[in-house]
């Protein structure tokens, strides 16, 4: 049963991730709050499962010429530095702090994206 639910969580997170909306932002809350997995494990599950999924979706998107290679490489350079810095420093940061940080991260990104969506929606309506 648990295995089945984990697969379901994966599908839900995968759909959102494949759309490029940030699968982790759905999958991690599902795994920690829904399945009561430890936060560190669900973070790792998200990262590891994202890799094969994104290989597949990147190929799918690349075939349709949806990926801007040069912009991607520019951002990858900076984001990799961030990822390495996080990997080195994470052991000095308490789990409690990380959990709250993730919460605030979700709240701020979620509300900003929601607001910009609403603004874009009304602008479109005005233009019509």
């Amino acid at each position: 049963m648990k295995a089945f639910l984990l697969v379901l969580c994966g599908i839900a997170g995968g759909v959102i991730g494949g759309m490029g909306l940030g699968g982790g932002t759905l999958l991690i809350p599902l795994l920690t709050m829904g399945m009561h997995l430890p936060a560190e494990l669900s973070a790792e599950l998200n990262l590891l499962s994202f890799v094969p999924m994104s290989v597949v979706t990147v190929i799918l998107h690349a075939k349709k010429k949806m990926i801007e290679g040069r912009k991607a490489i520019y951002l990858i350079a900076f984001a990799s530095v961030g990822a390495i810095a996080a990997a080195v420093t994470i052991k000095f940061i308490s789990a409690e702090f990380l959990r709250r940080g993730f919460g605030w991260f979700l709240i701020s990104i979620g509300s900003l994206s929601f607001l910009s969506d609403i603004v874009a929606h009304f602008r479109k309506k005005k233009g019509e």
Binding site: A3, A43, F105
Partner: protein, 166 residues
């Protein structure tokens, strides 16, 4: 674009005309045109440079967040591509996945090295994510953004509040 190139051609013609008739004054006439034109171009280039720099910082933060929280960096990369790098909406979603792929490999490897392991859970969640990912990738091209994404953002905010309150 067209306007500026037409005006540049006209200016060049005017400068050449003045020079041909011996009215050209390097200190005043010619240089004014050049300076004016150059300043405008410089301003545009500076804004582009600034945008690029901010995009780099945002990508750095995305990488940090992805490493610390184990995900979610992509949600920052999408608006960065769209607002700062003049990327079309659907393309920026697709490109964001390509950006997060190597970054997640780095962070994932770091988690593995620290010894967090659960093989079965990884396989179960992983297989679900692959199936869902293909569905999502096809949906991205077909389903218009709107209701679904709005709902997703609300879920995100709700989950965030739950995390903060503990």
């Amino acid at each position: 674009m067209v306007c500026s190139s037409v005006s540049r051609i006209l200016r060049d013609r005017a400068v050449r005309f003045l020079r041909d008739f011996g009215i050209e004054n390097r200190e005043n006439g010619n240089s004014i045109f050049v300076a004016e034109h150059g300043e405008k171009e410089n301003g545009k280039r500076n804004i582009r440079k600034l945008k690029r720099a901010v995009a780099g910082v945002a990508a750095l933060i995305a990488g940090l967040a992805n490493g610390f929280f184990g995900g979610g960096g992509g949600t920052l990369v999408v608006p960065t591509l769209r607002k700062l790098m003049d990327c079309e909406e659907k393309k920026s979603h697709a490109t964001a996945i390509a950006v997060m792929l190597p970054v997640s490999m780095i962070s994932g490897a770091a988690y593995l090295l620290r010894g967090v392991r659960d093989l079965w859970a990884t396989l179960e969640v992983g297989s679900g994510v692959i199936v869902g990912g293909v569905i999502g990738a096809v949906m991205l091209r077909k389903v218009p953004k709107g209701f679904l994404t709005g709902l997703f953002y609300l879920v995100m905010i709700y989950a965030g509040i739950r995390f903060v309150r503990g």
